[in-house]
Every structure is written in structure tokens, then in C-alpha cells.
Symmetry: C2
Subunit: 690 residues, 2 copies
């Protein structure tokens, strides 16, 4: 692509270079630090382990100083966030540290990073997986299963089974327990559950103390493997019926092509070609993109992957930060697994779970791919095709009119630029799209694909899902995904405007008796929401109203305060269930369509990777952001949700379809300009009336 | 495009050929008919005039008989609907007639067509315009304005002003009155209102009896032009302030390109090319289209334009009829024009107002265009590019997964076929899109562009809109557009399923004390709606539920009744205002998101062109469809709305943007299949895990 010209030469939100990570690791390992660390690929849970290293974003004030006048002396100091598992402590715990300034030098020091959390330290029982997912459970599983291996073989034949643990594993950090669910080890295992569950206690750093608490087979509960074995041998065990549908060909849970080809499908479909070259610019090293008056930097982190920074349109900063925060998936069901699952996928690292995209399939042929680097406890992970950027013809004019008078007759093509990243967290694929329009509109859209977290289908599951096979089902769940939108509309001093409509009956002197002297009509009300406590928001009934950021002191040419609206797109939903202990306070943002708070350095994000396992006492308690502060002409942040109520259906197999499993919101100018700026497009036509 | 193979050789819903129209006209003019008609281009209001001729659609039973076994003897008889204005009657009225069978022969006869209306005959005061829009008002306007032409010149300088009348013009047919609003005669006149209004009585067929009832200038009401002139001359008239913003360049209300070009905008954007040829088939003569297992016929009529018929997917009929029914736009304001406007655009002929689309701008370069023919009182109107059809790459895989096991890793490209028609009704442009997906999903989407119906901006209009210039504004209004969706899911016997979710607290034997013995979780409820009275529907709060057509007697392989869901898309809204006299009972469908009724030949449509002028006693009273009939395993029709709450903003000038002024719904398989059928796509990739 053509070379970009970033407004500043340093991407302040860039990931750490591998060399920086190496240097920090060395510096941390220095005995002078006194951290007594074991390198993670050798470490056990009762060692001190380096869990994570990544760039820590600069304070906004520092960043804006540099962006206003990009010179070396204005460059903010660079810091890294380091997460250490203190497994060797007498009372094991986890702590985040800030290390810097970077590069490592004699001036480099470290301090505890606690101000962004609502409790400290991080409970050890909420920890992230320290070895390749679930491996730390293997010894316990083996211990449980060995004594009953003959029984399992009798019950399940020659199938190899595979175990997966669910979450949350703790309420407040005081324990770590999980339901282990068994599935057949075939392609698409999530669709092949076998109705066998074990509840295990895996609290603390010593696996020798871990134990089975319960075992459930075909709805029968056993306190131990021995009691399960006894029931099997004495014939009281009620067995799951034979499952012929699961015996044969399991290709239904793969992505193998099936069925007769459709008419003309042997031909390639339409392919977008920019015959005179691409029209967007990319600086690959600085991860800066520009297109048609838009410009932005990219960031990337372990927890949530791609983020967008310093988004400008027509030479004005519009958004300081636009980034996903968390993705919940709360399940329901009549088995111990589905009834207790409430995922917060940040835990697994939606950034580190980004895989290389499939050129031509995940993005059009002309897309430009950008790499991303994250650190994991397995080492540095680099994906060459983590992000794609492409221009797309929406095939719909953005404006048009066929008039009769001069210069009324024409159209402007509706091109957009899409920036995409796809995270595959186990079974699920999340497509994150940021779609930039010519008029200043951005659509933020998440689409889902991948496999369902399936259940064993039987009549008692009727209220919790739908069969996708005779004995497999998809389980009911809600997805809600939260975004941080640090809009800066004509500067950082913004207010939250609630524009809504009502119905009125008014009298007018000009009415005649034919229709009566009054009229019933709509009316617009414009209210500023003054404090955070009133800024936990749902879209009004029938969408009779909406929310926007405006700068009261900056007017457009017609004396209207310049603003940007947060406009609902596809599936504007929030979470359904309120009050579940497994999602008690760790994802309260999901109760709303959006919320607006005062921007704070101590509130950089609405969640944390440990929130999954701390529903009762989360590291980041979103509701605590809302402490009655005034939000008039302040630097504000909108926390905006997308989501879907996923009532699975047969057509979710093998994979969910992105065309209906999709949700979005728009950020769109609201009297920000004096008129529609997409009228400046050269890809326009103006005709004389024929 | 490649040639299509329609399942039957006759398009049962084709428009009349010009020769047929000519023959019918001749036959009607025959003195033997006794109609005493004057040909319309010469006729006055007090003559009998032929207003309209068009094809009348066959009864569904007859059509299905033919489609099941397409032979000449099964071909339904063909009829035309003819509308005659009986202006010469002592009590003038309008009547619809059925004429047939066609072609005209000795067997041809005519009868009154009354069974599709809730009152008969059609009141003369509700009549459609009989000459080029508004011309029939010209003599009255001239009579009113001539005596005050000097005053108008003094008030408005050298501007030429142009008048437009609003609607509804009657409540129940007992009168015909309208507010005439004055605008500057420049390009985009709708944005140049001058604050001058006249209320006129134009009842009955004799223009000599028509008169001015009231005149409003700058909020001052005058019973006559004389009193207005008197106030002007005696200096009591409060004049509208000088409007310098309206004096100069008026290019802001044109589509002229403006502003500096953006970076790289001199290059052409990406262009879709089907390098091996198009993959959809078109039979231009029969107006039949097929693509990737989809097939459908097109119809076209004066009132609402393009309609889709006998839509099949994978060799099964899915929809018998999919057609727009009506488009309302209900306004509000602090002036006599906006406060009294509630358009029903069918009146103007959304079909006859279709203009030729702009290749490359309204549709991509590769689009195939189809013609449409409608009859108007001006004669037969043929548009060569009334409809476009194109395949489009959504640039988003329809499904994808990057797994680890064999055959889990791949993607299917998300191609769609779009069938589009654009109606320009005066100021407004409606883009009708029918978007067909590989998995059986159809998205029905309407986007709006064109000009606002503007107002004169002043402080007292603050609650009714927003300034788009110092002294021009956009006025608050709601759009709602109704579609008839005659889904036939696995046959015509369908039931209406309401699937919704609730929250429950359940006890389970397997829970431990750690989390408590109960769980709060979601639950699915499935209720069949049994009667029409319960089938006037809104989407539930937070979209916690949805509606679908299912055939209880036809199950998929997993014993779930096969169904199709009506799923909300963009902007799933209904009309805001309830109870306004100007929309009292003529568009009651707009109160809901959707409604479901028993399909009837006597209820072919939810509106009529005369509904605009009969809010108190409409020709088609939608609520009368809902008379308590049972809707279990019957042939059902869904009446589904799209819409937008249009709170105008500066960026609506010069034309509204289709990216946010858009609304849609999906028709999508719901356990209709056994699995996702888009997995049969050849445009798929399946990779080994790298
Ligand atoms: Ca606060
Ligand atoms: Ca801000
Ligand atoms: Ca009925
Ligand atoms: Ca039907
Ligand atoms: Cu899901
Ligand atoms: Cu509008």
C-alpha cells in the first residue's frame, strides 16, 4: 500500500519489541530485584513465575502533549506492566508491577501497579493458566480417572474422551473449583459432550491437595469415584441411552464441504480490484493507517487484541481510544456445566488467541495484513496476519437523488475502510470490525462464528436450547462485548446529551374546525445528563431517543453544539440475567447498552483478566466508576456494548453464521459538521436531468 | 448474464404489456360499456376519467395450481384492475373495476372491485392527482396570489416562489383541503421554505368553487388575502427578519461537489469483477432471477414498485409474496405545514416514481438492470433501469473457524445477491434492497436519501428539528415502511411461534454450598400465538425473544418443527405518535414492529393509494384484518415494518445519508434445515492447522 505519513513518528501504543521483553525479563531476573523467580517454562505453581509482560499505555495528558508537538523531549516515558505469580509466598498472591522507564537502564525501577484495581493483591485462586491451557489439571484428572477407566470404557466404548474445565472458578478468590466436562475427542469436540461431569477443587498452589468433590453422570450425583464405581457394579447406575447418531461419521462437526454444489458455484465470485492501486496508506512499522481523511494508530495487547488510538478525521482528533474491553458468554442449562458457565474471555487472552487470518476468505484479496506481537507465559507470540485493512465498496450510494432541477441529480459511492482482527477463543471466533465511512461515521461491529459450546440433548434440556443432532444440542447463552470509546468531540470537554422524543397535543391559532384546533404530534427533548449516576443507560423503548457526546462550547455554523452520536446498529442488546452469583459484580457494564463516566487514568479499562474468577469481588468493579461525579464539559468515556442473545438452532452446526450472529453500534456526526462532508467525494456523479 | 430457467414459463405477476393496456383502454372507451369517459389528457375533474390500469394478481390457489403443474390449461385467467374517476356523476366518486379475462375478447367483462376495501365507493375528495402533480391547483393559486403579487415581491425580493400542497387533504372524504407552503424556486427547493402558508379548500370537482380559507405569514393568521394586504399596508404586519444566508449562493442545497479532495481520492475505488462471468441468471422477458439455489419472479406496480414472488430456496417455496405496502412520513413542527403533514407515499405512486438508476453509483458496475412498466394517467411509463441485480462480496466470511483438530480450520466466503429498486417521491429517495444469503437468509433493507422536507428555522422550532442553515431547518418526522411477507414455511400450513426468554432460579442436586444450592439463569419459553388478536406485535424489551413462522407438522431431522424467523435488523422501530387525527386509522400497521394475519384474497394489501386522504375512514383499515381468527397451521402473512426516527441534523444537507438512515429485517432459517447449508459452498477453504 502507499506509504502513510503519521502525524507523529512514534506510535505511543505500540507493543513491546521482543528485545524490550528480553531486556525486561533479564532485569527482573537479576537477583538484585529479589523476586526469586523461576522461568515459567520450568516453574511449578509454588514458584514465583513471570506471567506476563506488556507495554503500559502512557497517560493521556502526556500523550496529547507529544501529539500536539511531536518532538523527542515531549515523548512520554515508556513503561511495561509485569504480572508476577508469587506462588512461593507463604500466602500465594499475584501482583502487577510497572517497570520503567524503558529502555532498561540504571534509571529503571519497578513499583506495584495497584491504582487501577479495586482490590489488591490479585488472589492466587483467580490466576491465569500457567501452562498450555488445562495442562495443569492433567495430573488430577489422571488420578480421578485411572480407577474408573474400565467403567468409562464400558460406558463409552472406544471413544477417547477429552476434558475441559469451566468458569468462573471462584467467587471471591477464597477457593478455586471447576466443573470438568467430558467430550469425545473428535474434530469439533464441543459438539460431542457425553453427559459426564466432575467437580474438582484446585485451590492453592499445591496440586497434591487438589481433589474431586463430586461426579455427575446422567444426572446422578456421586460424592466420589468409588461411589460411582459401586453404582456401576451393583447395577443401580442409570445409563445414558445408546447414541447411534454419535457413533458413525462425525464429519457433521467438521468444516468439510458437503452437499451438491449450487448452480454456477464452480465459478469464482466477484472480486474487488483497485485498478489504479490501493487508496489507503499503511505504515507497517508504526502501525498507522490513513484513508480519505481518516488516520489512526493501532495497538495490540494480550487481553483484548487490537485497539485503535488517536483517530482523527479531517484533521481533528475524534477518538483518543477505541478498544474492546471484555466479552462475556453466560450460559444456562440442565447440567452442571452449562448452568455454571459464565465466561469472560479476556481471561484467555483474546489478543494472544488471535490466529493468522485466511487471505481471500477472512478478508478480501486486496487486504493488507499487519502483524501483532504479544507476550504469553509460553514466550513471545507473533502473528503475521493478525490484522487486516481493506477498502470496500458497500454497493450502496452514501447519498443520492434523482431530481428535476439543476444539480439535484447524482450520487456518491459508499466506500468504507475496514480494519479487522479475529480472535478465536477455543470454540468461538469473534470478528472485530471497525468500519470507517466517508461522512465521518464509524461502525463498530462484532460478528461471531466458530463452534457452539454444546450440551447433551435430552428432553429436560428443552428450555435451555435446541437439538443440533439427535443427542447433541446448542445451549442458550448471551454474548455481550464491551468497548471503551474515549470520544473527544471538538476537544476533550464534552457533555452527555440525551435527545428523546415525546408526544404532545398543542393548540395553534391557524387550525380550522375541520380537523379540530389541536394537533397531536412528536416533540424533541434535549436533556444533558449531569452526573455519572444517571449515565448507566439503556436505549429507550422503540429507540425514541439517543445519546451523544457534545461540546457545548463549540458550535457548528448554525449555532448547534458539535456532537457525535452513539447510535445503535445490529442487535443492540444487553445481558439478560441479573443477579446470578457467577456474574454478580464482575461484568456490571453488561447490564446496560452503554454507560458514560469521567475519564480517569486509574480507570483505564472496564475489566481485567482476573474478573472471570472474581464475580463476588472483582479486580475491576465497573459500578465503582460511577460515584456521582459531574460529567458536564469534562473528558468523558463511553462504555458501549454489542451482543447477541444466542438461542442455538440446527443451523449453528457446524459453525455459527456471522450474518445473523452480529451486533454493532455507530459513532456518527451529529451537527459536528455544517453539512454532509461526504459531498466532497470525487467518486461522485452529477448529471443533468435526462 | 447467463440465461435463467424459470420453473414456469409465465410470470403470473408480470405487468400489463403496452398492447394489453391499449386494448383495455379501447374496450373501456367502447360506448357499449356506457362509461362516458373522456380521455384523461383532455379531461377535466368533472369528466369521467380513466385514472389507472394495471395487472391484477391471480388468486394464490390458482397460481399454486399452475406452479405445481405449469401447463397452459392450468394458467390462471388474467385480469386487469381499472380505476375510474366518475367526475361526471351527480355525486362524484371513484371506483375500481376488474376487467377480464385478458386478452380482450368477447368473453371479457368488467365488475366492480369492492371486496378488497372496507368502504365503497372511493370518495372523490380522496382522489389521486389527475394531471402532472399540483397543476390542478394552479388556477386557484394564481387567483389567490395575483392581488398580492406586489406585496410578495416586496417581502421576498426577486425570488421566484413555488408552492406545494401537503397531505392528508381529507379526514374521511367529506372535504378536500390542504396547506400550501411556499418555497424559493431554486435547486433543492424543499430546503428553502419562506414562512408563507395558505390553507385552501379544493373539495369537489368544480375548481370555480375552490377558495382560500386562511393565510399564515410569520405566524400571523389572516382569513383572506385582503386582510393580509391590509396588515401589510397599515404596517401591522410583523415581517420575517432579513435572511442574508438565503440570498447568496444556493449551491448548498445542490449536489455539487465541494471542498478539497481527500488524499488519493483521485483514484478509482475498488471495483468488483467476476472474472469468469456472472454467477446469477436472469430471464429479462419473464423477470425471473436465480442465484445459488435461490429463484424468484419480479412484479412491479404503480403504487409500490417492485415486488418479489414465488421465492424458492433449494427447491422449496419459501415465500409466495414479498412486497412493500406503504411508506408513511409523519411530521411535527411549529408551522401549519409540518404540523399537519402525514404522508402515505403510496398515494404518489412509489412504483411510477422509480427513475432510471445511475450505473456504477446506484449499483456496482457489473449490475444487471431490468425494466419496469407502469401505467399513469399520463400514459404508459417505461423505465429501462428500474431494477438492478448484482452479486456482492460482503467481505466477511459467513462462517469460519481456526481450530486445532483436523478439518476444523477454514472459512466460507460471504457472497450475497442484491435485488434493488429506488423510488424517488419528490424530495425523498427510498432504496429497497432484498439481500439473499447463502444460508437461506434474506435481509430486507430500506435506506433513505434525498432532500429533507425543510422548514423555516427560528427559535420556536427548537423542539421540532435542527438548523441546517441560519434560517433553514430539518423537521422532525418518523418513517415507517410496511412489507407483506407471505412466508410459506414447508408448505402453507404455518403457526406463529413466539420464542422468548426469562430468568429463573432453580435448585440442582449437584450444587455445593460454595455457590449455594440454586442458580439464577436464563430459560427459553416457546408459545404459539393462537389468534390474530394476539398477533399485533412489538419486539420485546432488550429483544429477549422473537417471532417465527413454523410448520408444526414438518420437523427437521432432530424433531424440531421447521421454521423461519423474522429477525430485527437495523433500526427496528415503529411509529412514535399514536392518536393523531391525521393518521388515525389509515396506517395502524405502523403501531407495531410486525403483525400476523390469516392470508386472504380479500386482504391483498395493508393500504391503498387513497388511504393518505382518509385517516378517519380508510379504504383499507388494517385493524379489520385482525378479527379474532385462529392462526394455527394456516396460511399466514406477516406484515413487517422497517423505519427510522428522523431527527434531522446539519449533515442531512444537502441529502440524507443512507448509512445511518437505514432499517432492515431478516428472514432467516430457524431449524428449517438440519445444519448450516452454506457449508456446501465451493467458495470455501479448508486448511490443515499450520
Ligand atoms: Ca467516577
Ligand atoms: Ca473523551
Ligand atoms: Ca382476519
Ligand atoms: Ca403464508
Ligand atoms: Cu454464541
Ligand atoms: Cu426522513
Amino acid at each position: 500500500p502507499p506509504t502513510a505519513k503519521p502525524p507523529a513518528q512514534v506510535n505511543l501504543w505500540a507493543s513491546l519489541a521482543v528485545s524490550e521483553t528480553v531486556d525486561i525479563t533479564k532485569w527482573l531476573s537479576d537477583p538484585e530485584r529479589g523476586l526469586n523467580m523461576t522461568m515459567s517454562d520450568r516453574g511449578s505453581l509454588s514458584d514465583n513465575i513471570l506471567f506476563h509482560i506488556e507495554a503500559y499505555r502512557p497517560a493521556k495528558a502526556d500523550a496529547l502533549r507529544y501529539l500536539t508537538s511531536p518532538s523527542d523531549q515531549n515523548l512520554p516515558e515508556r513503561f511495561a506492566r509485569v504480572t508476577i505469580h508469587h506462588g512461593a509466598a507463604s500466602d500465594p498472591y499475584i501482583m502487577d508491577y510497572l517497570v520503567g522507564p524503558l529502555p532498561v537502564s540504571s534509571k529503571t525501577s519497578m513499583r506495584e501497579l495497584t491504582e487501577i484495581y479495586h482490590r489488591n493483591p490479585i488472589p492466587y485462586n483467580a490466576r491465569g493458566y500457567t501452562a498450555k491451557a488445562f495442562n495443569e489439571l492433567d495430573p488430577l484428572i489422571e488420578k480421578i480417572m485411572t480407577p474408573i477407566s474400565d467403567i468409562v470404557k464400558e460406558l463409552y466404548g472406544n471413544d477417547t474422551l477429552v476434558a475441559a474445565a469451566n468458569g468462573p472458578m471462584s467467587f471471591d478468590g477464597s477457593f478455586r473449583r471447576s466443573w470438568v466436562s467430558w467430550r469425545r475427542k473428535v474434530s469439533g469436540p464441543w459438539l460431542h459432550p457425553v453427559g459426564l461431569f466432575q467437580y474438582v477443587d484446585i485451590s492453592g498452589p499445591d496440586p497434591s491437595t487438589w481433589k474431586l468433590l463430586k461426579m455427575v453422570y446422567n444426572h446422578q450425583v456421586f460424592p466420589s469415584v468409588e461411589s460411582f464405581a459401586e453404582a456401576f457394579h451393583n447395577g443401580t447406575l442409570k445409563r445414558i441411552p445408546h447414541r447411534p447418531d454419535q457413533r458413525d461419521d462425525t464429519s457433521w462437526s467438521t468444516r468439510r464441504r458437503s452437499g451438491p454444489p449450487r448452480d454456477l458455484d464452480h465459478l469464482p465470485g466477484p472480486r474487488a480490484v483497485s485498478f489504479a492501486g490501493l487508496r489507503f496508506r499503511v505504515d507497517r512499522a508504526k502501525q498507522y493507517i490513513s484513508w480519505m481523511g481518516w488516520g489512526l494508530y493501532l495497538g495490540f495487547d494480550r487481553d483484548m487484541g487490537m485497539s485503535l488510538w488517536d483517530i482523527r478525521f479531517k484533521d481533528e482528533r475524534l477518538i483518543y481510544e477505541l478498544s474492546p474491553q471484555e466479552a462475556i458468554a453466560q450460559y444456562a442449562g440442565n447440567d452442571p456445566m452449562q448452568a455454571t458457565t459464565a465466561w469472560l474471555d479476556r481471561y484467555f487472552g483474546m489478543g494472544s488467541s488471535v490466529r493468522d487470518m485466511l487471505p481471500g476468505y477472512d478478508c478480501p484479496y486486496e487486504a493488507v495484513y499487519l502483524p501483532a506481537t504479544t507476550y504469553t507465559h509460553m514466550g513471545t507470540l507473533r502473528r503475521e496476519r493478525a490484522i487486516c485493512v481493506f477498502e470496500h465498496d458497500t454497493a450502496r450510494p452514501i447519498t443520492r437523488h434523482t431530481g428535476y432541477d439543476e444539480d439535484e441529480f447524482g450520487a456518491v459511492r459508499g466506500y468504507v475502510l475496514t480494519v479487522r482482527s479475529i480472535a478465536t477463543v477455543g470454540n468461538y471466533d469473534y470478528l472485530f470490525d471497525y468500519i470507517f465511512h466517508l461522512d465521518g461515521t464509524i461502525e463498530v461491529r462484532v460478528s461471531a462464528s466458530g463452534y457452539l459450546q454444546g450440551g447433551y440433548w435430552e428432553k429436560s434440556q428443552y428450555n435451555y436450547g435446541t437439538a443440533i443432532r439427535e443427542t447433541s444440542m446448542g445451549s442458550l447463552h448471551d454474548h455481550v462485548i464491551n468497548f471503551k470509546v474515549d470520544l473527544d468531540v471538538a476537544g476533550t470537554d464534552n457533555s452527555l446529551l440525551f435527545t428523546h422524543t415525546t408526544q404532545e397535543e398543542v393548540e395553534q391559532p391557524w387550525f380550522d374546525e375541520d380537523w379540530g384546533s389541536t394537533v397531536i404530534q412528536q416533540k424533541i427533548l434535549r436533556d444533558y445528563i449531569e452526573t455519572e449516576d444517571n449515565a448507566l443507560l439503556k436505549f429507550p423503548t422503540n429507540f425514541q431517543g439517543g445519546y451523544s457526546f457534545v461540546n457545548k462550547e463549540k458550535k457548528n455554523a448554525w449555532s448547534t453544539p458539535r456532537g457525535y452520536a452513539i447510535h445503535p446498529g445490529y442487535s443492540p442488546v444487553h445481558n439478560t440475567v441479573v443477579g446470578s452469583k457467577r456474574l454478580l459484580n464482575n461484568a456490571n457494564w453488561a447490564r446496560y447498552n452503554l454507560a458514560v463516566s469521567l475519564r480517569k487514568e486509574q480507570e483505564p479499562t472496564s475489566s481485567s483478566m482476573w474478573n472471570l474468577n472474581l464475580p463476588g469481588a472483582p479486580m475491576v468493579d465497573f459500578h465503582k466508576f460511577f460515584d456521582g461525579e459531574n460529567i458536564t464539559q469534562k473528558d468523558l468515556v463511553a462504555w458501549v456494548n454489542v451482543g447477541t442473545h444466542h438461542l442455538p438452532q440446527a443451523e449453528d452446526a457446524p459453525n455459527t453464521r456471522t450474518n445473523t450472529a452480529t451486533s454493532s453500534f455507530f459513532l456518527t456526526p451529529l451537527n459536528y459538521f455544517d453539512s454532509d462532508v461526504s459531498m466532497d467525494s470525487m467518486n461522485a456523479i452529477l448529471l443533468k436531468t435526462p
